[in-house]
Symmetry: C2
Subunit: 139 residues, 2 copies
Amino acid sequence: MMNDDEMITLKPIGVLHSAVTRLEDVPSHWTRSSLEGDIEIFKEYREGLNGIEELDYIVVIFFFHKSGKEYSLIQKPPHDDKMRGVFSICSPFRPNPIGLSVVKLLNVKDNILHVKNIDMVDGTPILDIKPYIPLKNME
Amino acid sequence: MMNDDEMITLKPIGVLHSAVTRLEDVPSHWTRSSLEGDIEIFKEYREGLNGIEELDYIVVIFFFHKSGKEYSLIQKPPHDDKMRGVFSICSPFRPNPIGLSVVKLLNVKDNILHVKNIDMVDGTPILDIKPYIPLKNME
């Protein structure tokens, strides 16, 4: 996975399906979204979903496939009048364009996760699904 | 970033330095760790840290560089007597070996983030840093 030149290669495990196909219509953050949609996990990874129906919330790691390679280290977020470093904000324009959303898991049918609180555009490549673990559990 | 064969390539933006150099000594999860260490963000990304000192907790996205390419879709987590799908647990052995930890940001000096609650081994490649946003903010 780690080559000589330190590049890391990943491959999508699934894809998001939603009614929102234009970037400008995507909710700006999962905390501000009530949008529902389906995460299709590709058939070859289906077994990895075993037991996931027990979870109320899941973490979705995805690829900002529409962001391209352009980013600035300092950006002005929407709804903010201050310039901020990219690592202190949730902008899709990042050195590594990886997104993270916490979504509510409404139901699971075979390899399809029906979820709420989406802030991804239709067609977004999914890289990983993890259980959501709240900070209050921290020592 | 997305090639013809749908592979996604990423490059580390930094590296973790800690006293824990053996995998077997790494705390099993950030909720069960009080270990401190330093995240070195490479100099070329230094500006991206602007304003990060205002945050109490940050999300660290990293590469499980010691896990290799071996994984099972069904695994038995430590401290659990049930086999579970990989997407419902935090195992480092995943189709895409991406890790996620929430750590406490103790202080920032130039390009070094001193953090607590580490569950990564010394030398772990860092892929992204994001602000931690609690679920209670969700609509």
